[in-house]
Amino acid sequence: MIKFNHVTKIYPPDTLVLKDVSFEIKEGEFVSVVGKSGAGKTTLVNLILGLEMPTTGEVFFNNLNLNDADSLEIQEIRRKIGTVYQDYKLLPKKTVFENVAYIMEVEGKENEEIQREVPKVLEVIGLKNKFNSFPDELSGGEKQRLAIARALVNNPEIIIADEPTGNLDPYNSYEVVSLLQKINKAGKTIILATHDREIINKLGKRVITIEDSKIARDETEGRFII
């Protein structure tokens, strides 16, 4: 599904972030990408989303080389990926309902479908009574649940969570990770970029460890070892 082929990323003038990184993620996998802050986890996520391009090497999404993809293809890929970020990346001037509906509107879904599906997702995620609230009126945990609702609503092929628990207390962190596990059990591919040792060790899933810009370990049932 996702393949990194000898990917190197250098930010001008000479900041090396990723060096000769190669790995493959198959459909339905739960993969954690770990590393210290600044190790290149977010860069890796941005490369998958086509927000950045590799300096050398290739990134493939469903066999499409992102280096060769035009802007329309990149937009299509992004619509197949649900994203969850540490800073939530919600649309601050839209209500909870509108934030989730926006994703469906981007895809050109019909209004009837939006009116039917968005309340369902918000109910599952526990934001049933917050439809008309703005992101500023939500707690950190609620914001992250809203981000997950937004990531889920279009039934994406893959969910990428970049430090989703970074701003949350242990209780909310546990809730978010549990949600990601449930989503994975439903057959979705999950990529979780984090530096939270406890979470990784509890998951017992595949772990890719980035150290010194390179993949130090890629273990099927990995642990957080840095």
Binding site: L49, G50, L51, E52, S71, L72, Q75, E76, I77, R78, R79, I81, T83, K89, L90, L91, P92, K93, K94, E98, Y102, I103, E105, V106, E107, G108, E110, N111, R150
Partner: protein
């Protein structure tokens, strides 16, 4: 397509209402710059009126020999008009009319009136009074035409050579004033465009994170850009409505004051006569520059 447009339009209207502070600030800047341009247009009107008034005061006169029949003079007048297209006004003044005008003008001057009585007879000659576009070259051309054409034998004299220096001086002053007005207009227009562009830029940069999020979730360029471009149009429309009302009201209130300084120039009438230019300036500037600025600024964020 229509659904998408409706959505983009709804986003724009909602965001406009939810970003009240930024919307009001942007509209305020637009109103100030549009008013500046509108007043500049009023200023051009005043300058134009002044220069045309001055230019209309300059004329040359062709005096015809005493006893020349009126139809010959009128024939000469028609011929001159045919040959010289830049003539704004040409007026035939008969011998009797010239005397009457002299009497009217100098009736309080006993010395001149006595001198006229001494002469006894009507000493004035019939004449053609000619006004062109103020260009000395035009006056010279008309003067040459008069003195070299077939009817030159019935002309006593043309007073161009006596007025030549004055005509040149006045033409140079009015031309310089016009050039200065155009230059000032261009400079102020550029400044106004830059001010509006930067205001829109600041308003959009405030939403840069939001634009980034829209890109991440796969929104098309138009879906991201559309609401901001429509914001530009809404800002421009609201600013236009405020501006046209302010322009009209200020012209109404200032008209008597300006008229006391410049008799004959009614600012409010000028506004009413040229209302479509005001509308064009304000709509074109407000909505056009607003939307184009938004289009350009958002593009910066879409280049990945």
């Amino acid at each position: 397509m229509l659904t998408n447009f409706k959505r983009v339009f709804t986003f724009a209207v909602n965001d406009f209402g939810r970003n009240k502070g930024i919307s009001i600030a942007t509209i305020f800047v637009l109103v100030v710059t549009m008013l500046l341009l509108s007043w500049l247009f009023f200023f051009q009107g005043i300058v134009g009126y002044l220069t045309s008034q001055i230019q209309n005061k300059i004329d040359i006169t062709a005096y015809f020999k005493d006893g020349t029949p009126e139809e010959d003079i009128l024939g000469a007048r028609d011929e001159v008009v045919k040959i010289s297209p830049n003539i704004k006004k040409i007026e035939y003044v008969s011998k009797e009319q010239a005397l009457a005008e002299f009497n009217e003008k100098h009736r309080d001057n006993p010395v001149l009136m006595r001198a006229l009585q001494e002469v006894g007879d009507n000493p004035f000659l019939p004449s053609l009074n000619i006004v062109t576009n103020g260009d000395p070259a035009q006056y010279e051309s008309v003067s040459n035409t008069l003195q070299t054409s077939d009817f030159s034998k019935i002309i006593e004299k043309v007073d161009f050579s006596e007025k030549k220096d004055t005509i040149k001086k006045i033409y140079s002053i009015t031309s310089n004033v016009n050039t200065f007005g155009i230059l000032l207009g261009i400079i102020l227009f550029i400044v106004a465009v830059l001010v509006v562009f930067n205001t829109i830029k600041l308003a959009i940069e405030n939403s840069s994170e939001e634009i980034n999020t829209m890109r991440i979730v796969g929104a098309s360029d138009w879906f991201v850009r559309g609401p901001f471009v429509i914001h530009g149009v809404i800002y421009g429309s609201v600013a236009f409505l405020i501006c046209i009302v302010l322009s009209g009201t200020s012209a109404w209130f200032l008209a008597p004051k300006i008229q006391s300084i410049l008799p004959g120039f009614n600012m409010f009438r000028y506004f009413l006569t040229n209302w479509w230019i005001f509308v064009l300036i304000q709509i074109g500037f407000g909505m056009g520059v607003g939307a184009i600025s938004a289009f350009i600024v958002v593009k910066k964020y879409l280049d990945v």
